[in-house]
Amino acid sequence: MTVRVNGKEQPVEAGETVAGLLERLGLGARFALVERNGEPVERARYEEVRLEDGDSLVVARPVAGG
């Protein structure tokens, strides 16, 4: 199945979690912020929340700013 991450198609395995996806994307170590289908995902639930086919995700992070 596939999801969209920041507008790009990404294949994911059935039942993959948000945490798993971040890991595969090499963002495990990063301070990543995740929005799923327009709703923010609590960091505490990255391990639980399982992706579904067609999910649209935004993955963001804090950057330098004033």
């Binding site: 301070f31 923010p40 960091r43 004033g66």
Partner: protein, 258 residues
Amino acid sequence: MSDPLVIAGREFGSRLLTGTGKYDTFETMREALAASGSEIVTVAVRRIDLDDRGDDDITAFLPDDVLLLPNTSGCETAEEAIRTARLARAGGLPDWVKLEVIPDPRYLLPDPVETLRAAAALVEDGFTVLPYVLPDPVLQKKLEEVGCATVMPLAAPIGSGRGLKLRDAIRIMIEQAEVPLVVDAGLGSPSHAAEAMEMGADAVLVNTAIARAGDPVAMARAFRLAVEAGRTALRAGIMEEGAQAVASSPLTGAVHQP
């Protein structure tokens, strides 16, 4: 004597807030933040470019004991700002937000109507909201009424370093402020920051003037000293300006007098 800055019931020893933008390196930023003594540090929130992870993770360079203050830069509507703030909070950043709603890319000035709308919604949603505004004493009252924790008027266009160009409007805001007044954007040198504090601003927020200085670490220290100087002077009671000259030496008894 102790004179903490109190925002939303939380005490801060430093009245200098700093931004993290525009430093040449994160190492320089880290040193400058330390030299500034700042306890509230802003960050922006942006999508990760999966094809170019870009530089290191800024959070690795930020001291643990400061409050990270995510901003909503890049947002042009209340909805965009609310969405950004909620994403930041869910992902583990504080539930404090520097609210910026800036529709115009040329002058980068905030939108009073959208900012008020977003502020009300975010307060409702449990955020501690620090809105960035053009100096407007009436808008200030409305933001206070919807529950904002501070009001942060700009001194001059962001990044211009021109100082307190809109002084007269900011003075009125200070006179009637019921929550801390933070002068944000446009301060170009420590004397600008000292003047804001002497006028009675509760704090100042500085980014460009430190990050783009020849020596950002030294400049951060200079702003720290200036903010303390201005605050100390305000509390010590600044002399009245006079139109007349007044001698500082005795008027009589000169040596040559008969």
